[in-house]
């Protein structure tokens, strides 16, 4: 069973009503959207919504331990780790983008699952809403 099929089955079994994916593609440090994508996802837990997060393109660098917006006095990304752990939020990355942007030392605390680009079409369509930030 593919990763996407097992995910869909898990959701069905757990009666998750609305499946929402938040996507960020712009790099952290340069823009706030990485921070916002997590903040928005975490805000969904009050309702019967199971949010997921997809990190794409330049935003992929946000998955690295080496990436530190706080080195420039900007809002750190690592503050999201405890919420990812608390809510068990699913965070996805894209293999080809991690390679393209030479992302090293991926921080395990994201619990990131890497998808291949060819899986993205089915992945997007397995959600009710895919919201790009």
């Amino acid at each position: 069973m593919s990763q996407i099929d097992s995910l869909a089955l898990w959701r069905e079994v757990n009666f998750m009503d609305k499946k929402v994916l938040f996507v960020v593609y712009q790099a952290p440090v340069g823009a706030i959207w990485t921070n916002e994508v997590y903040r928005t996802a975490f805000g969904m837990y009050g309702e019967d919504i199971e949010p997921s997060v997809l990190i794409m393109n330049e935003a992929s660098i946000g998955l690295s331990e080496n990436t530190k917006p706080e080195s420039l006095n900007l809002l750190p990304i690592k503050m999201v780790h405890r919420f990812i752990k608390k809510y068990e939020t699913e965070v996805f990355g894209v293999e080809e983008h991690l390679e393209k942007f030479n992302v090293k030392n991926i921080d395990e605390k994201f619990g990131m699952k890497a998808l291949k680009e060819e899986e993205l079409s089915d992945f997007f369509h397995s959600y009710d809403l895919v919201i790009y930030m």
């Binding site: 996507v23 593609y25 794409m56 393109n57 330049e58 680009e117 993205l120 079409s121 997007f124 369509h125 959600y127 009710d128 809403l129 895919v130 919201i131 790009y132």
Partner: protein, 89 residues
């Protein structure tokens, strides 16, 4: 299956992925600067039913004849919103 909303042109990497991952049964709507995708052969290999917001296309200096795809007014856009349960944008 899904309403796919594209608001930036072909220099936007996210919009490229949005279009490349669209399925045959999707309704794609090119709005605002998304209309630039409708020029030339940009959408040659893209699946889905492609629609262009007419007033955004015309306001950017193009004529209706220059659009190979279905031009929508806002009433028709709302019809599409009613039709498609899923949203990707």
């Amino acid at each position: 299956m899904a309403l796919v909303l594209v608001k930036y042109g072909s220099d936007n990497s996210a919009e490229k992925i949005k279009l490349q991952t669209a399925k045959n049964s999707d309704s794609i709507v090119l709005i605002q600067d998304g209309i630039f995708w409708a020029l030339n052969d940009e959408l040659k290999n893209i699946q889905g039913n492609i629609n262009v917001i007419k007033e955004d296309f015309l306001a950017r200096g193009y004529s209706e004849e220059e659009c190979k795809f279905n031009l929508l007014d806002y009433s028709e856009f709302v019809d599409l919103i009613e039709k498609e349960e899923k949203f990707i944008g």
